[in-house]
């Protein structure tokens, strides 16, 4: 179970980082969302994995670690606020700059002929 949990955390982080490296705001926001899933799961994992042990007194024999849960709970809510702020900022940037590139302008790059062909095709 631990192996697959760790694998999923790593995969989510990798996917998140890849999307964060893209150039359009909305995709970056999606990447950050994936990344915050990974971070929350990672933080949660610092309390280790426990089955049937919710930290409610008298409900189970062995309790899971409640401290990471409390931390992650607020992290989820703050994470939502951050995502919201970013996405509104992205909209505002689109409204004011006229494009949705993370730099506020589409960088001028020397375009290779093959890429032009692809676009035209």
């Amino acid at each position: 179970m631990e192996v697959i949990y760790a694998f999923c955390v790593g995969l989510l982080a990798a996917c998140g980082f890849f999307l964060v490296l893209r150039g359009r705001t909305f995709i970056v926001v999606m990447g950050l969302t994936l990344l915050s899933y990974a971070v929350n799961l990672f933080l949660f994992a610092s309390g280790r994995l426990t089955l049937n042990g919710a930290a409610v007194l008298g409900q189970s024999a062995q309790y899971s670690d409640p401290l990471p849960q409390a931390l992650v709970l607020t992290a989820i809510v703050i994470g939502f606020a951050m995502t919201a702020f970013l996405v509104i900022l992205a909209m505002r940037s689109r409204a004011d700059q006229g494009n949705d590139h993370v730099d506020g302008q589409i960088p001028v790059r020397p375009v290779s002929p093959s890429l032009l062909d692809k676009r035209n095709g």
Partner: protein, 931 residues
């Protein structure tokens, strides 16, 4: 009496000129002089104790735990320097009163001067290394201000910048050196450091500390190769040159070497570095001084040369040489300050400092000329003047050294050559300026200056004579106690007398005199010889170096900061990968001893679904709607994961946040392009994929290592005290609202601020409303489906009931303010979706900002309420009550706090989503009207 006041009085004195300037220049100068004079009197009152061999200390503790304190001490060396700083400082105040023209701002000058004086007094009385360094830096800054006093002149600005750069850089080296010494000794207390000579000498870091401290001293005291800033500092007004660049500031470096003489000197390394640097500086300064046509330029290089002489003496590692060095500090300060003042008078009265124009001034100002000639003779080392005595001691010491092994005999020879040049430039000063024909094209006809401006010069010249004729009587005791402090309480026998009999040093003096006269007589040949050299101005080299440094810094900055966020993120990730990945390579085992949980079928299916969705989000990220759907699947499985691993609170929170987030992103997507073109090259994509993948591996490995390591947690405390201390059985909720309530308060405030920020961003948004999607299809005009309206409306009370239930049971069962708030928000948002803003508007009249505000207020007030009962902020209270029909129930102050959390969450989420939603509806309306 209070030692602190010795420093504080000049510091307070910086304010005096500002208040007294309006009363006229005389009163202003008089009032400015009062405080340092008072300070000087305080010092003199301490003097008897010091002469008895005591050292006076005063310490004010600041942060005792880390050894930070304000600490002063007064011993013989400090006393000597205080007399120089305050005594000559007073004379300079008087001199500057007449020197400054009506165009110059007198108060500004005095403010800088007093700041400098306070800093110097601070250096010589500090008993703490860090404090000493702070005053040291203050002298650099105040000297920058003084040099650039005539800031309209380009050379003043350039000179000031150069002085600040060189001495400031030296100051940084000094700080490093002092920190190192503090580290070696284990204390920044100067008394402790001075008593730890053996520890410092034996320590491996001694050479580093020594070189760093010497860098500070050499830059400040204009030693080769850092001497070049001093001549350019002569752009300052002459009182500044007289004070800073001859008598005091440049002596700060000498002071530093003398102060640390007991702990740093005595080794071969000190010997080699200090004596050779001093010798080079001595010769170089003396040689160049002869060729300077500018009066102040000559004096500047002469100062460099004399500073080199003192450094050389300190470097000889002999107690007698140290005594000679201290003696020369006194003598040089007196004759050089008076020479600068005389040069200033000549400049003032004749309008020129160029020795090719200044000739034959004897006829115009015989009185000033007499004073200047006596001082210049002292500089040359003529008998019956103070310069002769210390030079004699210097010659004697050069004979008693073995710096260069069997070549050591060259040092006395070089000393005589240096002294001969010193005689030659002194002769030039006398002969060229006061005799040698008639003035050439002077802007003014020279005349004697006002009576009072000569007083400081007279006093200093009188001192030169007195010390020269009655040395033991005038300075014997002072020299003794200063040496007492430098040499760690063992002063060698020295005899301050004019006549020591016919001996080798006397012969050397005689040779220097004769050599100097010969050199000066043949100066035309020397000038001719010197003119063959291409002399580059240090200013140009310095400016060029600075500019190339700035250019290099600019190009580095421009390379790193090219305005591309993608580049920044990539660099950041790469650094993270290197710093996070490298330690993992050294780790040989990545799993711990904790028993793992067996896999089951449902988990595998969920995990596969999550993996598929995450990968699909990446693959189809340019088709944004599709990617968003996959993203929401990932979020749902995350909340299932929490549920699976015993975190019901987290599962509920994640689920409701997931809904809100996806609605938010859908709304945003309405305004943003629904798809994007392929922009990155394949190479870029593969590199990004590689880096992201590697970081994923690092994180996964870390996560696995952590998961398999046995748990060592502090949570047992929370579990044990949750019911008894917090009155609730749901430990997660009790942590949130009780144990760590302060954190939660901070978090809901952040949430509120974020929501308000978003509100402001939305309020001024001028975004175009898309009429069609990216495939060119018009958006549906069908407003609100009937079925959805009916179902939502009937669901609302139910949803609110659920959220109330979740809220109330939160303290004991999974739930609480955060989750209940999110559920309420989702229920209200559903109404927005089903009915539209127009329908909601008349029904919900309260502004969401107010809900956020009242939520934060309630939470804060709950925290403050505990003060009423004499408890700490956010202490909680709970008790059990029973009512008929209902039965036993619990009331806790934490529930009130949770209510604050609930309201803030509802307010924040609704403020964000409802306002974003309104943007779309107003657009729709416009479109319909247009149609």
């Amino acid at each position: 009496m209070n030692l602190l006041w010795v420093v504080l009085l000049p510091l307070i004195g910086t304010l005096v000129p500002l208040f007294t300037e309006r009363f006229g220049r005389n009163i202003c100068a008089f009032c400015v002089a009062l405080l340092p004079a008072w300070s000087l009197i305080l010092v003199l009152m301490y003097a008897p104790d010091i002469f008895n061999g005591q050292a006076i200390r005063q310490t004010i503790e600041w942060i005792p735990a880390i050894g930070l304190e304000v600490s002063f001490r007064l011993d013989g060396l400090s006393l000597l320097f205080l007399l120089l700083i305050l005594g000559i400082g007073l004379l300079v105040i008087l001199y500057a009163r007449y020197y400054l023209s009506l165009k110059d701002s007198m108060s500004r000058f005095y403010v800088y001067l007093m700041l400098f004086m306070a800093a110097m007094v601070g250096i010589v009385t500090s008993n703490n290394l860090i404090q000493l360094w702070m005053f040291w830096e203050l002298t650099s800054i105040s000297s920058f201000l003084l040099i650039s006093f005539w800031s309209h002149k380009s050379e003043a600005r350039k000179g000031a910048r150069m002085a600040l750069t060189v001495t400031g850089a030296g100051g940084l080296a000094l700080l490093a050196g002092l920190l190192l010494i503090g580290r070696i000794v284990g204390s920044y207390d100067l008394d402790t450091v001075l008593a730890s000579s053996d520890i410092i000498h034996a320590h491996a870091a001694y050479p580093v500390a020594l070189i760093l401290v010497l860098l500070g001293a050499f830059t400040k005291s204009a030693q080769f190769p850092f001497h070049f800033w001093l001549p350019h500092a002569m752009a300052a007004p002459t009182p500044v040159s007289a004070y800073l660049h001859s008598a005091t500031m440049v002596k700060a470096g000498i002071f530093l070497m003398a102060r640390f003489y007991p702990v740093l000197a005595g080794t071969d390394l000190w010997f080699i570095i200090v004596s050779l640097t001093g010798l080079t500086t001595l010769l170089l300064g003396a040689y160049i001084a002869l060729f300077k046509h500018d009066l102040k330029g000559l004096l500047a290089y002469s100062t460099i040369s004399h500073l080199g002489l003192i450094t050389l003496l300190l470097g000889l590692n002999s107690p007698l040489a140290a005594v000679a060095a201290i003696f020369h500090i006194i003598n040089h300060a007196t004759f050089k300050a008076s020479l600068f003042m005389a040069a200033g008078i000549i400049d003032h009265e004749s309008g020129s400092r160029d020795m090719r124009q200044l000739n034959g001034l004897w006829q115009y100002m015989p009185y000033t000329a007499t004073l200047a000639i006596v001082a210049a003779l002292a500089m040359a080392g003529v008998p019956l003047l103070n310069g002769f005595l210390s030079k004699e001691m210097f010659f004697a010491e050069t004979l008693n050294q073995s710096v260069l092994g069997s070549l050591s005999w060259t040092i006395p020879l070089l000393a005589v050559i240096g002294a001969a040049f010193s005689v030659a430039y002194s002769l030039r000063f006398i002969h060229d300026v006061f005799f040698n024909g008639q003035p050439v094209d002077l802007p003014k006809t020279p005349q004697e200056p006002p009576r009072y401006v000569r007083i400081p010069v007279e006093i200093l010249v009188a001192l030169c004579l007195l010390v020269g004729i009655f040395p033991a009587f005038v300075v014997g005791d002072l020299l003794h106690i200063a040496s007492f402090a430098v040499l760690d309480h063992t002063v060698p026998v020295h005899n301050l007398a004019i006549w020591h009999g016919l001996n080798l040093p006397l012969l050397m003096s005689f040779m220097a005199m004769v050599g100097g006269v010969i050199l000066y007589y043949n100066r035309r040949h020397l000038f001719e010889f010197q003119s063959h050299f291409d002399t580059t101005d240090a200013k140009h080299i310095f400016e060029r170096t600075i500019q190339s440094l700035v250019k290099a810094a600019e190009s580095i900055t421009n390379t790193l900061e090219n305005g591309s966020l993608q580049r920044y993120v990539f660099t950041l990730l790469l650094c993270t990968l290197v710093m996070g990945g490298l330690p993992l390579i050294e780790l040989t085992q990545n799993s711990g001893t904790r028993a793992s949980i067996p896999l089951d079928g449902v988990t595998i299916v969920c995990a596969l679904l999550m993996i598929f969705s995450a990968v699909a989000t990446v693959i189809w990220h340019r088709r944004r709607f599709l990617a968003l759907i996959f993203l929401s699947v990932v979020g749902l499985i995350v909340s299932l994961t929490f549920a699976k691993f015993s975190a019901p609170d987290l599962a509920l929170t994640q689920l409701s946040v997931e809904i809100v987030t996806i609605i938010l992103l859908l709304l945003a997507l309405f305004f943003l392009p629904q798809s994007s073109l392929k922009e990155s090259s394949n190479r870029r994509l593969s590199v990004d994929l590689l880096v992201a993948g590697l970081i994923g591996c690092v994180i996964g490995t870390l996560c696995y290592a952590m998961l398999t390591t046995p748990l060592n947690t502090m949570s047992d405390f929370f579990i044990a005290n949750s019911k008894t201390g917090g009155g609730g059985t749901n430990v997660v909720n009790v942590i949130l609202v009780d144990f760590r309530g302060f954190d939660t308060l901070g978090e809901i405030i952040v949430l509120g601020i974020a929501a308000l920020g978003i509100f402001k961003l939305i309020a001024n948004m001028r975004i175009a409303i898309p009429a069609r999607d990216d495939k060119g299809r018009a958006w549906s005009n069908d407003p609100h489906p009937m079925m959805l309206e009916v179902v939502s409306q009937s669901l609302l009370p139910l949803a609110l009931l659920v959220s109330a239930y979740i809220f109330l049971r939160g303290h004991n069962m999974p739930g609480g303010g955060f989750i209940a708030g999110l559920i309420t928000s989702v229920a209200i948002i559903q109404q927005y979706i089903a009915h539209g803003v127009q329908w909601i508007k008349p029904r919900v009249t309260i502004d969401y900002q107010w809900i956020i505000a009242s939520g934060i207020l309630i939470a804060t007030a709950t925290g403050l309420g505990s003060w009423l009962f004499g408890q700490a902020f956010l202490s909680t209270w709970f008790d059990y009550f029973s009512l008929p029909w209902i039965g036993k129930f619990e009331l806790a102050s934490a529930m009130l706090f949770d209510l604050g959390v609930y309201l803030t969450v509802v307010g924040a989420v609704m403020l964000i989503l409802a306002n974003l939603g309104k943007l779309t509806t107003s657009e729709r309306l416009d479109i319909q009207e247009n149609n």
